[in-house]
Amino acid sequence: GAGVSQSPSNKVTEKGKDVELRCDPISGHTALYWYRQSLGQGLEFLIYFQGNSAPDKSGLPSDRFSAERTGGSVSTLTIQRTQQEDSAVYLCASSLFATDTGELFFGEGSRLTVL
């Protein structure tokens, strides 16, 4: 597709389970970002990739969160031993380059609900 694609769109899981969220960026975009959006809140930066490297992981909330990117394309955000406070919409965005311009292209997000 032409846009950023995220899957699953909705995920309901039980506390303590692991989840994987996937992001397919726009083809050719070298920069990829993960944000988290809790209900009624703004977007919280999690991690950024330039190619397959993640220069900044400082936004990851805890060591239960990890992300990887392979082939300079698809990225996976993994949350281990999920907690109820992990419930949120996880948004992925990509841009052609990692520049100081703010024109990120966002996917529609993966809504995670931890029971």
């Binding site: 209900l39 009624g40 930066f45």
Partner: protein, 112 residues
């Protein structure tokens, strides 16, 4: 699906009126500012941007104003339409960073 922004500040305007959405930013080193629009169930969408060497920038029906003295940003929407109903976020970035930092958002409701 459930809307984002249920607990956000809300601006309600009559269709056809002008809307002004305000945002205060905190980082004096930020030199690039962007407004995003987020409709229910969708990801944010870029609207307009402005660099710190400018005070005003106009787009189609939208104008962004920047007051660096008081660290304030505003988005003006002319002749507001029902399709403008959404949550609006300001975002900032500094020249030395790639990290886009979002504000908390304002919900715009357009009354027919």
């Amino acid at each position: 699906g459930e809307s984002v922004g249920l607990h956000l500040p809300t601006l309600s305007v009559q269709e056809g009126d002008n809307s002004i959405i305000n945002c205060a930013y905190s980082n004096s080193a930020s030199d690039y500012f962007i407004w995003y629009k987020q409709e229910s169930g969708k990801g944010p969408q870029f609207i307009i941007d402005i660099r710190s060497n400018m005070d005003k920038r106009q787009g189609q029906r939208v104008t962004v104003l920047l007051n660096k003295t008081v660290k304030h940003l505003s988005l003006q929407i002319a002749a507001t339409q029902p399709g403008d109903s959404a949550v609006y976020f300001c975002a900032e970035i500094s020249d030395s960073s790639y990290k886009l930092i979002f504000g908390s958002g304002t919900r715009l409701l357009v009354r027919p």
